[in-house]
């Protein structure tokens, strides 16, 4: 097991994995609670279009992550604008942007035929392709996003739980929403190197769903989400190394296992409680 630390690529993957495992669920809490679980997936597909655009244009590999970031941010701004206009319902808008992003990605990949890149590593995540530059980028983005989340935690909490009252309290709700979607976009754009386009959304959503099963306060939900996210990412990366399977799949399956375990435990606990109260009321009779 320890042998994996001999490889530089594995150490890089673990560092990037920890950052990803913390920042994705931390952002995801607010997404899930605002019922925007699909936002991450949408932005991931738009980011993929950015990756493909870079390949087609032949952008130097040092610059291509920044192009991906730029495309993701533009996509996020577009989603936010269209959301404010309210001509299309929120879920339909996300579906529209998601398929649009994917279609663009397919076209750009097609045009870039012959580029020496393994597309599946972008779709499902990969350990081998994470370079030291990628690690730095993930770390910088994770630190910035987490800093903003901590700084504005109470504002995001209020907007997320009761947007109207937050507005009445004088909070700059529109600007906070814009900042938040921007944070989601940059997080998705850098984290998809590890988890892959198709599964980065899952890492934002599943740990949060697991935490919602057991958390009794907002603070607990955030903490449990992050702990689940980091643990799932580390276990998933190790499984990926041992079994030689794409990282994204291993990480998300591990997160799913956490969810199923907590779900089962909660169901059993509720059953136990119910039979206990039934027993005690039976005794009272």
């Amino acid at each position: 097991m320890l042998s994996m630390f001999q490889y530089d690529f594995m150490v890089r993957a673990l560092i990037a994995g920890v950052a990803t495992g913390i920042v994705c669920p931390a952002v995801g809490v607010f997404l899930v609670l605002r019922r925007y679980s699909f936002m991450a997936d949408t932005l991931a597909h738009i980011s993929l279009a950015g990756v493909a655009l870079g390949l087609w244009l032949g952008v130097a590999s040092a610059l291509s992550p920044f192009l991906t970031l730029a495309v993701a941010v533009c996509g996020a701004l577009l989603v936010d604008r269209l959301r404010m206009r309210q001509r299309v319902s929120a879920d339909a808008l996300l579906a529209l942007m998601m398929s649009g992003g994917l279609a663009l990605a397919v076209v750009f990949f097609g045009l870039a035929r012959g580029a020496p890149v393994d597309v599946t590593s972008y779709l499902f995540g990969s350990l081998l392709t994470v370079g030291s530059r990628d690690v730095w980028l993930i770390l910088v983005v994770a630190v910035c996003v987490l800093f903003l989340l901590v700084l504005l935690a109470k504002e995001f909490y209020y907007v997320c739980s009761d947007e109207e009252s937050a507005r009445v309290a004088g909070l700059p709700v529109d600007r906070l929403n814009l900042l938040f979607i921007f944070m989601v976009a940059v997080t998705v754009a850098v984290c998809l190197r590890i988890v892959g386009t198709l599964l980065v959304g899952a890492l934002m959503v599943i740990p949060v769903l697991a935490a919602l099963l057991v958390g009794r306060s907002f603070r607990q939900v955030v903490l449990i989400s992050v702990i689940t996210g980091v643990t799932a990412t580390l276990c998933g990366l190790m499984a990926s190394y041992q079994l030689g399977i794409a990282a994204g799949g291993c990480i998300v399956i591990t997160a799913l296992l956490f969810f199923v375990a907590l779900y089962g435990a909660k169901t059993l606990l509720n059953l136990g409680r119910r039979s206990q109260t039934a027993g005690s009321s039976g005794q009272a009779n």
Partner: protein, 246 residues
């Protein structure tokens, strides 16, 4: 002193006029019930007062300042309609109530000792202090209602606006609820504006009633306003007089 003044306020969604030339003033210490049938524009009026909607015509003044220029929003407490509140949101009662301080504390700042003291006092007033670390999801409808009132109170407002707060409360909870409002009004000196479509027992508790159905139909003390003539004008059909004498 005037807490709120509406001056010839008009509002429409598209071509449909929702409010026409509504003028109303609420003075310090009033407990005003704004009544009217469903779709009469009550909630729209509240949203205009809160600055969530802009009037098509007319002006709204809060504490003497026009709402567009008003910056002291922490002086206004707001308890939204219950269906608008997500009671499945994972929060403890104390977390929900602490949000009432956010408008006062400022962006990016943490709540200090004084803020938590205000949260504690607000919880105490509504009788939820013993349940402060319970998830809101585990509370009864009446308790949830009180938690959201405590949130508004935590900001130590001078004006408290409640939008149809009675919805979903049973008779006992309703009685407790009105007693709480009366306490806030009398003992704490908070001016209250309550929207309601229920004309049942309101007359016994409030100091003034305004009837709205697109325009302001009548306005005065419960004894003056709540008679069958006004109510049938308001609701269009025969309604029995419900002004309760003391």
């Amino acid at each position: 002193m005037e807490v709120l003044r509406l001056q010839d306020v008009c509002f429409s969604y598209g071509r449909q006029m929702i409010l026409e030339n509504v003028s109303l003033s609420v003075r310090y210490g009033d407990f005003l019930a704004l009544i009217g049938p469903n779709g009469s524009g009550k909630t729209t009026l509240v949203k205009i007062v809160l600055g969530l909607l802009k009037p098509l015509k007319g002006k709204v003044f809060l504490f003497g300042t026009e709402t567009g220029k008003f910056r002291e929003w922490y002086r206004v407490g707001y308890v939204p309609q219950r269906p608008a509140l997500d009671t499945t949101f994972p929060s403890t009662v104390a977390e929900v109530v602490s949000a009432g301080r956010f408008g006062r504390v400022g962006l990016g700042r943490r709540l200090g000792q004084r803020d938590w003291q205000a949260v504690k006092e607000a919880l105490d007033v509504v009788g939820l202090l013993p349940l402060h670390d319970r998830p809101v999801t585990e509370l009864s409808g009446g308790q949830q209602q009180r938690a959201f009132i405590a949130r508004a109170l935590a900001g130590q407002p001078d004006l408290l606006i409640l939008d149809e707060p009675q919805v979903g409360l049973d008779d006992r909870a309703l009685h407790e609820f009105y007693r709480l409002l009366k306490y806030l009004n009398h003992e704490r000196g908070i001016t209250l504006l309550m929207v309601s479509h229920d004309v049942g027992v309101i007359g016994r508790w409030v100091s003034r009633v305004a009837c709205l159905n697109r325009t302001l139909i009548c306005h005065g003390t419960p004894q003056e306003v709540l008679n069958s003539g006004n109510l049938s004008r308001l609701y269009g059909t025969e309604v029995r007089a419900v002004a309760h004498s003391h």
